[in-house]
């Protein structure tokens, strides 16, 4: 009796609803499709047919490349037909990303970063136009696409597609394979805008059977040269901090594997390797393996033999020919061009590099840092992914072991997480503050926790123009605060420090001033930069670097 009932009850459940829905969606767009190719002129109708109210839609928007044609088409949808979408966007960069919410097409949002749209984002949140699920770090958002946020539809972008749907992303692979995988293998529809439809792609970055639909965009997707820093804007203070970091951290800990954030201070470090670093005899001893985008300011260090390998999150406009000509250093495909992958580079940055160094807008007395300031909801991006000590690491390296921590037998090394900043930002705003703006923003926006970028207990070193604070050496919270205050200059955090306290901290090795590190402050001149302009970078590259027009001042 019971035996015959079992199968009947099981048959009542349909195990292929997502697959069926996908089949129905693809059937619905059939009038606008030939093979896998959608008619760009009927994009709006196609989206009306494809999407259902309440769908979870991943819209590719990274900090560099943007599926902008699809974003525009989505914003153009009729809210009577398509509404209450739940969008997953890693970087809210385009006006259209928020237009979608204002027009009522979408309602809920999970994202990682909202740089250029951060002011409007804060307003829409305050007005209740957007329901924010959570603000994530980059890989965290992608990770959730494989757990509880699997997309029903993924709207992506690539350089080229062939008629079988094979995709060529070129140097800017970034997140496309990851989002495609999350959708393609659990009943989601993958729709990709491409710059060009071709008979044969130069290399297959994403296989065609993951891709359901392609559309040739009327114009190439937008791509931001986010990692290009013009050496003209690097000042003497940046150079001084670069010298302090090089001697006080890179040399002292023997850092061979590392990641650099975006900023003039870290660009200065890249540019003094062939000059100051060379004089210190550090070539081959530090900075050999990197996880970072093809920063143009890294070209002199690469050319002068400092760099053995670079794995990239994404590409960088203008560096294509240079990267293709240096395949021993960069990861390149059989077609010659760069292969990047944000998630894998983040993974490498977490477990395989000894150091992360980056700057922040605000740091509090406990070294918590944040880029969220009043009226702006910027989110995090990838810095927290790199800027923490991953407890899943087990392989040792001299740099990692130099920060030995824990009690025997559970001894372990530690990643160097370095914050580098001038004590005051332009306009006289202190970088070191008593309370982060993020705390207030969290309260105003009703967030469960303040949006802190890098937690203070992960930070091992802080570099300012005053010196280096070795926070990892502090044995008490009070010592940590003192060490940080000693390099915080005349900010509210640093101004109370007494000279004799600083002397004691120097003696104990918690703080190093320029003279303790053998850094001659007078030598911090722009002449120390291996390249002083974008034109110099072009010359260093042997003419292989083609800077975007906005950086050309010749």
């Amino acid at each position: 009796m019971t035996a015959s009932r079992g199968p009947t009850r099981a048959a009542a459940r349909d195990w292929t609803r997502r697959r069926t829905a996908k089949r129905e969606r693809l059937e619905a767009v059939r009038p606008f499709v030939s093979g896998r190719v959608l008619d760009a002129g009927r994009m709006r109708d196609a989206l009306h047919a494809l999407l259902r109210p309440g769908d979870r839609v991943a819209l590719e928007g990274d900090n560099q490349k943007q599926a902008d044609f699809l974003a525009g088409a989505l914003a153009d949808c009729d809210p009577d037909v398509v509404h209450d979408l739940h969008l997953l966007i890693s970087s809210i960069s385009l006006r259209e990303h928020l237009d979608v919410f204002e027009r009522g097409v979408a309602r809920r949002l999970d994202f990682a970063y909202a740089g250029p749209q951060s002011v409007r984002m804060a307003q829409l949140l305050a007005d209740g136009t957007v329901d924010v699920g959570a603000i994530h770090t980059y890989v965290e958002l992608y990770a959730r696409m494989f757990v509880d946020l699997t997309p029903d539809v993924a709207l992506l972008c690539a350089e080229q597609a062939d008629h079988e749907g094979n995709l060529y992303t070129g140097p800017g692979t970034e997140d496309t394979p990851t989002i495609a995988e999350a959708a393609a293998f659990r009943g989601g529809v993958v729709l990709v805008q491409v710059n060009r439809l071709v008979d044969r792609v130069p290399r297959v970055d994403i296989p065609g059977d993951w891709v359901d639909l392609v559309v040739e965009s009327p114009r190439p997707y937008a791509l931001e040269p986010l990692f290009t820093r013009d050496p003209r804007h690097i000042g003497q203070v940046d150079i001084l901090m670069a010298m302090l970091a090089l001697r006080g951290i890179y040399e002292r800990h023997g850092v061979t594997t590392l990641n650099h954030g975006i900023g003039y201070d870290t660009a200065a470090i890249e540019l003094i390797l062939p000059t100051y670093g060379e004089r210190l005899g550090l070539r081959g001893k530090i900075c050999r393996h990197w996880t970072l985008n093809p920063h143009p300011t890294l070209i002199p260090a690469i050319e002068s033999g400092w760099v053995e390998s670079v794995h990239c999150f994404g590409g960088e406009p203008g560096t294509e020919r240079y990267v293709a000509a240096r395949p021993d250093v960069f990861f390149t495909g059989p077609d010659g061009s760069l292969r990047s992958n944000r998630v894998l580079c983040q993974l490498a940055g977490q477990y395989a590099v000894d150091m992360f160094i980056g700057s922040s807008l605000q740091i509090d007395a406990d070294a918590n840092s944040s880029t969220v300031t009043e009226g702006r909801l910027t989110g995090f991006g990838g810095a927290p992914n790199m800027g923490h000590d991953p407890h899943g690491r087990r392989h040792a390296s001299p740099a990692w072991l130099s920060l030995l921590t824990g009690e025997a037998p559970a001894l372990r090394g530690r990643k160097l997480v370095v914050q580098i900043t001038q004590t005051f930002r332009s306009g006289g705003t202190p970088a070191f503050v008593e309370s982060l703006d993020a705390v207030q923003v969290a309260e105003d926006a009703g967030m469960p926790i303040p949006p802190i970028m890098i937690y203070g207990d992960d930070v091992s070193h802080v570099v300012t123009e005053e010196g280096v604070a070795y926070l990892h050496k502090a044995t008490s919270l009070a010592d940590r605060r003192e060490a940080l205050a000693a390099v915080a200059g005349a900010t509210p955090i640093g101004s109370h420090m007494k000279e004799r306290h600083v002397e004691a901290l120097r003696r104990d090795g918690l703080v190093a001033l320029p003279e303790d590190l053998g850094v001659d402050v007078r030598a911090a001149k722009r002449s120390l930069l291996a390249a002083r302009s974008v034109e110099d970078l072009v010359a260093w590259s042997g003419g292989l670097y083609d800077p975007p027009a906005r950086f050309r001042t010749w």
Binding site: P220, L223, P225, R232, P274, T275, P300, E303, S304, P317, G318, E320, R321, R526, S527, A530, A531, R532, S533, E535, D536, V538, A539, W540, G542, G543, L544, D546, P547, P548, A549, R550, F551, R552, T553, W554
Partner: protein
């Protein structure tokens, strides 16, 4: 997204051609990096530089403080006597970091008086070359008419001296040379530029705000340098020598120009040539910047007095 590879056009005086080794890059000392005082010292023979009317003489503009601008003790112009490859010389350097190199009453008079004194010394048997380092947006707005008047004095003194001795102009960057002082640049016996230098009567932003973005898009660096940039200005004969941004290269170009003496006929005197060139361009259908040199070469075949 990316712009085309830099072309080899207009590369002279050791300008890199894409094959420079990295050791050569490290050996270069940027001239653009230097402030006005350091630029002047870098050009003159070692140990010969002597500043006149320096900051400790405290000759400041009286017009800035009432307008809430902090004045400078040298009013943004550095005058240095010395020797240039053994030859008596005066280098007059405009400091771009102070008021964008804007010329006011005091700074303008410093330039004009220096040029006049060089002419006087020359007439009295001590031939003195002048070198003008022109990084200026033109007349300082805070001193409007007084600034304009001194620019006229500068031009008049320059004309006086250039009849006797070479007046060498250098526009290295990054400010460029615009406004009234671009007229002074046009009067120089020899005008030296880097690729980063710019020369124009009206700056891009002025043109855009007066005539609209369709006339000139001041946010487009490619357009700006295609028209005002050093490579274009030397390519079209509005400047004479294109140099690499390198102290040694700029100094040797200046020494060479000073040694060459005055041209047979100054550019500013070649009126018929200028008129023919203007006639060759239809303002309603202007040529592409890259084609301008060829258009003008067709209109005015190379003449004997062209160097």
């Amino acid at each position: 997204m990316t712009s085309p590879a830099p072309t080899g056009n207009g590369h002279t005086n050791g300008q890199t051609n894409g094959q420079t080794g990295w050791n050569a890059m490290l050996a270069r000392v940027g001239f653009i990096e230097l402030d006005a005082r350091a630029r002047a010292a870098a050009l003159l023979d070692d140990g010969t530089a002597r500043e006149l009317c320096g900051p400790f003489d405290r000759i400041e503009s009286p017009w800035l403080e009432p307008q809430d601008v902090v004045p400078a003790s040298d009013d943004g112009v550095v005058v240095v006597r010395g020797r240039l490859d053994g030859r008596p010389a005066v280098v007059i350097a405009i400091e771009q970091a102070f008021q964008g190199g804007g010329i006011g009453e005091v700074s303008g008079v410093k330039i004009a008086a220096s040029l006049s004194l060089a002419a006087r010394d020359t007439r009295e048997g001590a031939p003195t070359v002048a070198v003008l380092l022109l990084e200026t947006g033109g007349v300082r707005l805070q001193e409007a008419n007084l600034g304009l008047a001194t620019v006229a004095e500068v031009c008049s003194a320059l004309l006086e001296l250039r009849a006797l001795q070479p007046v060498v102009g250098v526009i290295a960057g990054s400010m460029g040379c615009f406004g009234g002082m671009s007229i002074a640049a046009g009067l120089c016996s020899t005008l030296i530029m880097t690729r980063e230098g710019r020369l124009g009567l009206n700056g891009p932003q002025v043109i855009e705000s007066e005539a609209g973005v369709a006339e000139f898009d001041a946010s487009d660096p490619t357009l700006i340098w295609a028209i005002d940039g050093g490579a274009q200005r030397t390519g079209t004969g509005l400047a004479d020598v294109l140099v690499l941004d390198d102290v040694a290269a700029v100094r040797s170009a200046v020494i060479e120009a000073a040694g060459r003496g005055a041209p047979g006929e100054h550019r500013s005197r070649r009126l018929r040539e200028s008129r023919t060139r203007l006639d060759a361009v239809d303002p309603a259908d202007p040529p592409e910047p890259a084609d301008l040199a060829a258009v003008w070469a067709r209109a005015v075949p190379a003449e004997g007095d062209r160097r």
